[in-house]
C-alpha cells in the first residue's frame, strides 16, 4: 500500500510539469549554495584598451547573480568571458582563469561550441531563429545529439517550453514561425532554446529591457523558477530588477569589480561609497 503522503503528492499536482527537483529547499543565498563559476584575476582587452581589471569572483550555483554598473563598466564583457563569446570579437583578448565546476573554460581541449551549449545565453533583443517554434527549441538538442528518437526530441521540446512557461501559449501552434510570437514570448522561447541543451549556467544580458512590465514580470517569475535548478547570471541596468530577481549582486565600475555581496545587503547597506553613489543615483 502506498504511503498516504505519496498519494497526496501525486494527486495534488497532476498539472505540475515544471520538472522541479523533488524537494525544493528554502534557498539560501551565498557560498552555502556551492560555487558554480570561479573566476580569478580575469582581465579583458579590446585591442590596447583594457576593459576588465583583475576580476575575482565566485558565482554560486542555484542562485541568480546580478551584475550592475554604468554603461561601459565591463559587466557585459565579463558576462561574455564566461562562455568565451569575446573570442568572436576581433582584437579581443582575455587573461586569467574562469572555471565552471572546477574546469577551466579556456583550456585547449574545450570546444567553444560545446561550452556555449553548457553556458546558455539570452540577449537583450529576443533572437529566435527564422524557423518554427518547434525547430527553435529542437535545433540545439538535435545538433548536440541529445535526442535518440523523434519522440524523444518532442519530449525535450515540450519539457523545455514548459520550463520556460511558454507551453500553454504555443502548444497548438508549434509549427508557426518563432518570430510570430510577441516580444515577451520570443524571449521565453529563446530561454526554452537555451534550456533544451541542458545547460549548467544561463547568462542573461539585459533580458527584459525590450519588454513591457507584464512580460518583464513573466520573465522575472521564470528566472525565479529556473534558479532552483541553474546558476543564472544576469546583467541589468534596472537596479529594481537586480533587487527583485537576484540573491547576489556584483557592482562593476570602470572595469573593476567594486563590490559583491548578498543582494539585500548591497541595496540596504553597501560597503563601498561608489556602490552607494551608483545605486542611490548620486553618480557624478
Amino acid at each position: 500500500m502506498t504511503a498516504p503522503q505519496n498519494i497526496g503528492e501525486n494527486s495534488s499536482m497532476p498539472h505540475d510539469t515544471q520538472l522541479r527537483p523533488p524537494m525544493v529547499a528554502v534557498h539560501t543565498p551565498g557560498p552555502a549554495a556551492g560555487v558554480k563559476i570561479h573566476c580569478e584575476k580575469v582581465n579583458a582587452f579590446y585591442g590596447d584598451k583594457q576593459a576588465l581589471h583583475d576580476i575575482t569572483i565566485d558565482i554560486p550555483d542555484r542562485a541568480v547573480t546580478a551584475f550592475i554598473g554604468p554603461s561601459g563598466c565591463g559587466k557585459s564583457t565579463f558576462l561574455r568571458c564566461i562562455n568565451r563569446m569575446n573570442e568572436t570579437i576581433p582584437g579581443a583578448r582575455v587573461t586569467g582563469r574562469i572555471e565552471i565546476d572546477g574546469s577551466d573554460v579556456n583550456a585547449r581541449d574545450v570546444d567553444p561550441v560545446v561550452l556555449r551549449s553548457r553556458v546558455g545565453m539570452v540577449f537583450q533583443k529576443p533572437n529566435p531563429f527564422p524557423k518554427s517554434i518547434f525547430e527553435n527549441v529542437a535545433y540545439g538538442p538535435r545538433i548536440h545529439g541529445l535526442a535518440s528518437s523523434k519522440v524523444d526530441l518532442e519530449g525535450i521540446v515540450e519539457a523545455s517550453l514548459k520550463k520556460a512557461g511558454l507551453w500553454a501559449e504555443v502548444a497548438d501552434r508549434l509549427h508557426q514561425s518563432g518570430s510570430s510570437l510577441s516580444g515577451g514570448q520570443q524571449q521565453r522561447l529563446v530561454i526554452a532554446r537555451a534550456i533544451a541543451v541542458q545547460p549548467r549556467v544561463i547568462l542573461m544580458d539585459e533580458p527584459c529591457s525590450a519588454l513591457d512590465p507584464i512580460a518583464t514580470a513573466r520573465i522575472e517569475e521564470l528566472i525565479d523558477e529556473l534558479r532552483r535548478q541553474y546558476c543564472i547570471v544576469i546583467v541589468t541596468h534596472s537596479m529594481a530588477q537586480a533587487a527583485r530577481v537576484s540573491q547576489r549582486t556584483a557592482f562593476f565600475h570602470m572595469g573593476i569589480l567594486v563590490e559583491e555581496g548578498a543582494t539585500g545587503e548591497i541595496f540596504t547597506n553597501p560597503r563601498e561609497t561608489r556602490t552607494q553613489d551608483y545605486i542611490t543615483g548620486r553618480f557624478g
Binding site: F267, T268, I279, T280, G281
Partner: protein, 229 residues
Amino acid sequence: MQSHIVTSYEEELNHLTAEVARMGGLAEAQVADSISAFARRDVALATSVVERDTRLDALEAEIERAAIRLIALRQPMAVDLRRTVAAIKISSNLERCGDLAKNIAKRSLILAEIDNSGPVTRSIERMGKLVSSRLKDVLDAYTASELSAATSVWSRDDEVDEHYESLFRELLTYMMGDPRTITPGAHLLFVAKNLERIGDHATNIAEIVHYEITGAELTDQRPKGETQQ
C-alpha cells in the same frame, strides 16, 4: 556625500528630514513644558500642552504620507532608504513622546488640585530635566547626523531607569505611611513612569539614528545593570 543627480529627489529627502527635525523641536517643547507645568502646577501651561498635542499627531501623519510617497515614487536605496524609514520610525516615537507629555500635563491639572508633596515633585522634576536633555541630545544627533552623540544617549539610558527606580521606592514609602497620599502618589508614579518611557523613546531614536548612519543595528546589550569591575 554627493547630491543626487535628480535635484527634486534630493529636495524631497531633505524636506522629509527637515519635517522630522521640526516635529522633534515640537516634541521637545511639549515634554519640557509638561515638566514645567507639572513642577509649578501651572494650569494654563498644562492646558496648552494638552491642546498642542494634535499638532504632533498631524505632523506624524504628514511625515508618514511624505515617506510613503517617496518610497513609491523614488524607490530609495541604501542610505536614502534607511533615511526614509528612519523618518517614519522617529516620527512615530516622537508622537508617543507627545502623548506621554500630554498625559503628564493632564495629571498636573489633577495634582494642582489635590497634592502638595513638594520633595517628590522636585525629584520628579529633576528626572524630567534629565529625560528632556536626553531627548534634546538625540534629536541634535539626528539633525547633525552625529553618530557618537546618538550612541552616547543610547548608552546612558540606565541613569533615567535608576532615577525611576528610586522614585518608585520613595513614593511607595509615602503611600504606605499615609493612605491619604495614595491618590496623588499614584498620579506622581504615572508621571515618573511617563518620563521613564520618554527616556526609552529617546533611546529608540538613538538606535534608529545609528541604523540610519551605519546600516548596522545597535542591539548589543546596553550597560544596563552591568557589574563594573
